[in-house]
Point group: C2
Chain length 360, copies 2
């Protein structure tokens, strides 16, 4: 029997907030940032293999990450690596994948997953996806995964739930909210009505196509013209043209927030968007002083609550830091207060502006 | 007319307190630690050229620094670079130089200078040395240079003055004191009787020889056996044997503190023993936040009163440090509180003990 379950892994990010480890040449999804022996992308792929047959797993990434993707996941055929000629946010990325998959299986159920998330309770995650697939197979619904919040996090978007569906964990979505300020986050956290927006989506191919037709008709029109060329040798040339023409817009803003048939599966599978050094720090092993240290020649004195990452061959002697990120990577070093880490993204953008791509 | 004025530059130190810039392979005297385009040794040599003819300047250093010394001071003949096979503190180092010089000029007046000191008022310094030479040429005296203290420094030794000589700046030495604690340093500083011990000596060859004979007869006996071999091809082999046999002792403890004919020339020629990063920091150019920064790609945010040194090609983004030493050198990095810098020496010694010479 044909398996209609597909996975699309979005792996085109540049992850500047993990600078200097993550760079445009090798962004965080390709790094073993948790120190487990596999990159975040490889871990995501391993999870997908428990959801779909390997041939139904697709990775969308930037052209320049073609080689590293193929190298990290040798099980993928070339046709399963979708290459974006430029960054156009998530809506075109998802449109590309679903129109290409339609060409292979018009009845596909598709899970769309970021490549750089941490999931600690994998079994729970698999169960949620499987139940999600069942829900969207029978219903014209755009399903998103909402995570029970553990703290009033200001770094995540939130989803407010509406009516519950048949005593399940699935609810109609009432509102989407972008990253809130501290006060609002606290209210969300206490209300019990708000869940973290994981950015993981599950939908039937026809449902998401209909949504594109309705809310992003120009994108639908561009990508649907390729039905004869997807999965052929002409695909790259076609995509190159389409990406040049398409607008840049997120799937959340362009489609999810506007659709009426949007649902959220509320759950808690040990999820984190490893967006910053600080969010990573929570999940790393720590010594008795709360430091997560990597590097074989790191000597710390009176260092607490810090992330310290050095290449094994570099010796580092550090005294007197509390709550810092200290990361050395080849010709780059960051020493930064963890509390101020949201600034790193902008600093890296400025470095690129002033010094070019060499250091970012 | 023959010039009897000689200079001996002691350049055998390993300068572990300037780790990671200063290493056993390239200690601080060979580094342009002030960022002036010349190493400390080269600057010392330039000063000596104003005191003695080039052929009367000798550098004593460790065997392993032969090449770097010759490279940095191409004006030196091989015979002017005295190579120590092992570290035996200052007394054997000085004995070697004076017995070798006796072979060239028994009437030599000799100034002995460390290679790693900072002198900002060079004209005053030259004048002091010249007057010192005049004093010891006529008198059987061991003259040392004492510096008017500017603060109750605990990192220097002190010299207490006794009787003044003929209304000059020269006094009999009453006592030598090792590095005092804070309370004692304060008393010394306020008394007006104490001067910093610069470790610069001036003496006539016969006076210092007599002092060796009296106070360090075993060293005198070892080195005086070589009168036929100094300045010949047999010198290295002889020195190798002598260094193996000689005890290790400082000139201060072994001789100066015991001699009766010890004098001090008190003056103030902008002297500093660049013993630590902190002492260096005083003399470097600083930005408006009190940071002395080197490296073309260093970006500081809320960093104050710190020494930050990076290779030009390395980019460093640093936020939130006050009173730190941050020095990156190839495979080594130090981030350390300036106030605790006295610990660095011991840490580097431990690194060598545990990891070998690779990192020190």
């Amino acid at each position: 029997m044909k398996n209609n379950n597909f996975c699309v892994i979005m792996a085109g990010g540049t992850g500047t907030r993990f600078w200097p480890l993550s760079t445009r040449k090798e962004p965080k999804q390709f790094l073993d940032i948790l120190g487990v022996g596999k990159s975040l992308l490889q871990q995501t792929f391993e999870r997908c293999k428990k959801i779909s047959p390997v041939e139904n797993i697709f990775v969308v990434t930037n052209e320049k990450y073609k080689d590293i993707t193929a190298e990290q996941i040798p099980e993928l055929e070339d046709n399963q690596i979708l290459l974006e000629p430029e960054k156009k946010n998530t809506a075109p990325c998802i449109a590309y994948s679903i129109y290409k998959i339609e060409n292979l299986d018009p009845n596909a159920n598709i899970a769309v997953l970021p490549s750089d998330h941490l999931i600690t309770k994998e079994d729970d995650f698999i169960k949620v996806i499987q139940e999600g697939f069942k829900f969207i197979a029978k219903k014209d619904a755009l399903l998103t995964l909402g995570i029970t919040p553990h703290r009033p996090e200001t770094g995540y978007g939130y989803i407010q739930i509406g009516d519950q569906i048949n005593s399940s964990n699935i609810y109609k979505v009432k509102t989407f909210t972008e990253k809130p300020d501290q006060e609002l986050a606290q209210k969300f956290y206490e209300s019990g009505e708000y869940y973290w927006n994981s950015g993981i989506f599950i939908w039937n191919l026809q449902s998401i196509k209909n949504a594109f037709k309705e809310h992003l008709p120009d994108i639908d029109s561009l990508f649907s013209k390729g039905m004869g060329v997807y999965n052929t040798k002409k695909e790259p040339e076609f995509i190159s043209k389409v990406y040049f023409e398409t607008k840049s817009i997120s799937i959340d803003y362009g489609l999810m927030e506007k659709s009426q048939n949007v649902y959220v599966y509320t759950s808690d599978f040990g999820w984190a968007d490893l967006g910053t050094w600080g969010s990573l720090h929570e999940f790393l092993d720590k010594d008795k002083n709360g430091n997560s240290v990597s590097g074989k020649n790191v000597m710390l004195y009176e260092v607490e609550d810090s992330i310290v990452k050095f290449p094994d061959k570099k010796i580092a002697v550090i005294k007197g830091l509390e709550g810092y990120i200290v990361v050395d990577s080849k010709d780059k070093l960051l020493i930064y207060k963890k509390n101020d880490e949201q600034e790193i993204k902008e600093i890296v953008e400025n470095i690129q502006k002033n010094k070019g791509d060499k250091y970012v």
